[in-house]
Amino acid sequence: MLRHGLDRNVTFWLLTGLAAFVLLPWYGIERGYLDMRWITGGWPFRGSGASGLFAGLERPWLLPHLVFLLLPLAAWGRLKSDPLFSATLLFAGAGGLIWLLLQGFAIGLNGFEWSWLEALFGPQDIRQFGMGYGALFTAAAFLFFLSSGLAARGVVNGDTFVVGSIGFVIAVVGIFIFFPIMKMFIAGLQTDDGSYSLSVFIAKFADRKIWSLACMTGGTRCGVAWNSLFLAVMVGLFSTLLGLVFALVVTRTGFRFGRFLRAMTLLPIITPPFVIGLAIILLFGLSGTVTTTIAGITGMQPTRWVYGFTGVFIAQLLAFTPIAFLVLIGVVEGVSPSMEEAAQTLRAGRWHTFRTVSLPLMRPGLANAFLLGFIESMADFGNPLVLSGNFDVLSTEIFFAIVGAQNDAGRAAVLAMVLLFFTLAAFYLQRFWLGKKSYTTLTGKGDSGHHPLLPKQLRYVLFAIAGVWTVFTLVVYFIIIYGSFVEVWGLKNNLTFNHYVRAFGLSWNEFGLHFSGAAWDSFWTTLQISAISAPLTAAIGLLTAYLLVRQSFAGKQAFEFTTMLSFAVPGTVIGVSYIVAFNVPPIELTGTGLILILSFIFRNMPVGVRAGVASMSQLDKSLDEASLTLGANSWQTFRKIILPLLRPAILAALVYSFVRAMTAISAVIFLVSARYDMATSYIIGRVENNDYGLAIAYSTVLIFVMFAAIGLFQLLVGRRQLGRRFDQSRTNWEAGG
């Protein structure tokens, strides 16, 4: 059983790996991956640009990589079904990866990292830096060898694309989620003098400040864990309810202003979170407009009622209801009218149909919306920062455990574990509730395309709730925009363009246009980093969703758990764990723009995954099967059948990750550097300085930029064509922008 040459894909990766090893700089560059100065720095023979091969002359431990790279040649002329083919590739891939990791961790900046190596070889004058492009592509080649070997063994029906994708997702999730979090948790066990102790950990865990239930029994306050849990459950419940109300109003009431409502509900997510908090203070604070007006009319003593649970709850509800809406709208729209028609044909009333057919079919959406609201609330940092008063929550406690005067990374890690426990518990409860029922309603079969209207009374209730909330949101946004023109709020109430000029001033000088405003630097950086990370996030999220919904493989549960993990970890912890993990070789990223991009990708990836999973579980598997039966492979099926039907999910993932990258603060505040400062960290600095004018003006500009970006994404992604008639509910994504 001989054939000429080598498998085409294997050849491609063999050549890529070789080229990377011989030509690309093996080590990272001081100024980060995006800096191209290595081309002039002695590349590829010496200095910082030396490739793996030439660096290997000085650092012999790099040379074995070459052996593993060339090893697949041993499978020359063998067929995929030949056991030697798979064995060779498995050995080359696994061996190469293991060697790469071993040498990377064993030899660091100051020689051997592991003391037994030093004992074995004696102290050596060797050191190495973080890995660069060469190492990256070499590792990619090894990974492909490994997955090709596995596929040749018949894993997942021998589908190279699927095995390769699984391998890729596992590798990146392992490096950018698991590894930093492990490092962070190890820090939780560490005592002040650097040794490890379980008793210190237990003492930190059992802290009264975390678990006290004093508020239930008439004491002063409860532990942060209970505070966070209570807040998150309330926010999850109410944001899901409100999101459902809006989704129903738009799709099932014949409501004419759906376009307007959709645009409105988008507003809060494209707002830097703490800005809503600020607006709420300007409205309801002790000297807030509403508070003083009411006090003036009724003669009551104004109070600080808004600081604490109430304020954070209102702000988070404003911020997260639209996320619930975005999740639910796809699901509510996706519920096939044929089920509802069937129910009505069987003489069920509108109310009965809604309650027993439509609502249960929305379960995956409801559960996802609740989960998102719950986790978002748990991880939210901006609003509690400005509004929580004495109502401490986990996310801010973690932040101040690290940056505060106490400076206790161990305590932060313990608090993060509590947070993780809650969010994962919610995750499992959600799965339990959804059970194993089928929610498939989007099949290849035709239907009328008409969603039935809701019963009249229910419609009026929905209109009332949506109306009140809409007016409230409008007031909050009016305050934000108005506030950006007020010179000094509450002191000099005259209107001025001053803040905009200070932030985004332009001037002409001898070199032409000069961006003289203070905000330009961080603005361009933010735009660039968000634009890079959004499509990458959507891509990896949807790929993962596809693997989860459509493929079955051993360890799928664990795989799903891992991909959701980063969402359950608050940004604060991601930020610190990234610094701890990626400041030293083998992966050195701190101070670069790349670390920001990576943190966004892996923090927002679960949203892509959830959106993809929710949409994909509505797509009947018979669609894939039809495609596969007609001879397409899994990659073609994914691209031609599933992707186009997933447009709403793609759009949701793109919009969400772009917006989150522009408005995120908790992880960012640790990862920004002099060269890569982000808008939010700049704005927080202005807020700290009581310079609300510039902060709000900058935020207003960000809001408009994000609006434009969302419109652009819609144009680029387009809308899925379901072949249904939309004359009744004439609202869609294009119209929504």
């Binding site: 002790l286 101040f400 940056v403 002191l491 400041n583």
Partner: protein
């Protein structure tokens, strides 16, 4: 073979233009944004060295410097209260340096330096006190407070804001000041009585006076220069130097150990200690007292010589051990009390 490689390398380097060696300085700044910008741009103008500046609070910067210890990214850390600088010195995160400018400095600045083994130095100083919103005080018919003891009066219940000493260096300085002023029992007794009147423990140290400026609380316990800065911005804030005496902070500067541009860091260090540079703080609306004896002091700055300053023991109360002990005691004995 080796020769061939060498020729090729030589050829390569001749063909490609060698980049100019970048003259850079990475500055971690823990003062106000405006002051930080002034320092960064000022140094660039004075020396032509390109400055990359990141502004973060002193606690955040300390966390960052500590996290980056194995592979430092920053060169110099300028500004922010002295305790984290002392802590960094204690943990070996900063480099010792004796500047030729030391002769021009105030004794408290030199004392700070000596306490750390010359690893940090005082660049400005500010006394602790409080400020109140005059409008709110009038509205609530409250007597103007002049002493620490006035803040304990029952009519001030719900009117006072102070930061949480766990998260703020300012509030920890307050706690340490009370312990030094009234003794440990007396100091904690004071904090317990104050607790009853506090409406919120903020996270950041200067937040209370900013809240007072915006009318969200009546009294804020902060460093006096922070209160003065609000007055200078036009807010109805009155600054008080407490009659019993008070503690103070020394804003500091440290060279980060393992800095990538140590020479430039030293240049910045000397430059930042000069009288001319320190006189410019007012331009950035900062009213701390500069450490250079010849620097001009703003007329708005609190006059340190007119304030009763305690003999603050930076070595003792700056050590992590004493800090942890006091904070734990505050957590256990004060924060749990009903308000």
């Amino acid at each position: 073979m080796k020769l061939k490689l060498a020729t090729m390398a030589l050829l390569g380097s001749m063909l490609m233009t060698t980049p100019a060696i970048a003259d850079d300085l990475t500055l971690y700044c823990s003062a106000d944004e405006e002051w930080c910008q002034l320092m960064a741009r000022g140094f660039e103008e004075a020396t032509g060295i390109n400055v990359d500046m990141t502004r973060k609070s002193s606690g955040e910067t300390f966390a960052q410097v500590k996290a980056e210890a194995a592979n430092p990214k920053g060169d110099i850390w300028w500004g922010g209260t002295g305790d984290p600088h002392l802590q960094a010195a204690e943990e070996g995160l900063s480099e010792a340096y004796e500047s030729p400018m030391r002769g021009e400095l105030q004794p408290w600045s030199i004392k700070q330096s000596e306490a750390s083994g010359n690893k940090t130095i005082g660049i400005y100083s500010g006394a602790l006190g409080f400020g109140y919103n005059e409008d709110l005080l009038k509205q609530n018919n409250l007597p103007a407070p002049a002493c620490w003891a006035d803040l304990l009066k029952p009519e001030f219940k719900g009117h006072i804001q102070i930061a949480n000493p766990n998260s703020s260096g300012t509030a920890y300085t307050t706690l340490a000041t009370m312990v030094q002023l009234f003794g440990e029992d007396g100091g904690f007794d004071y904090m317990k009585k104050l607790h009853v009147n506090v409406n919120q423990y903020t996270k950041s140290g200067s937040a209370p006076i900013k809240a007072a400026a915006k009318g969200e609380t009546t009294v804020g316990i902060v460093f006096m220069h922070d209160a003065v800065a609000q007055t200078a911005q036009g807010f109805p804030i009155k600054t008080v130097a407490p009659c019993e005496g008070t503690g103070y902070e020394i804003g500091s500067m440290s060279i980060i150990k393992g800095a990538r541009n140590p020479e430039n860091a030293k240049k910045f260090y000397d430059w930042a200690l000069s009288a001319d540079v320190q006189s410019r703080a007012v331009e950035a609306k900062s009213y701390q007292v500069p450490s250079n004896k010849n620097a001009k002091i703003s007329p708005l700055s609190p006059d340190l010589s007119a304030i009763k300053l305690i003999d603050y023991d930076f070595a003792k109360f700056g050590s992590s051990e004493e800090r942890k002990r006091l904070l734990k005691k505050w957590d256990d004995d004060v924060s749990t009390l009903p308000q």
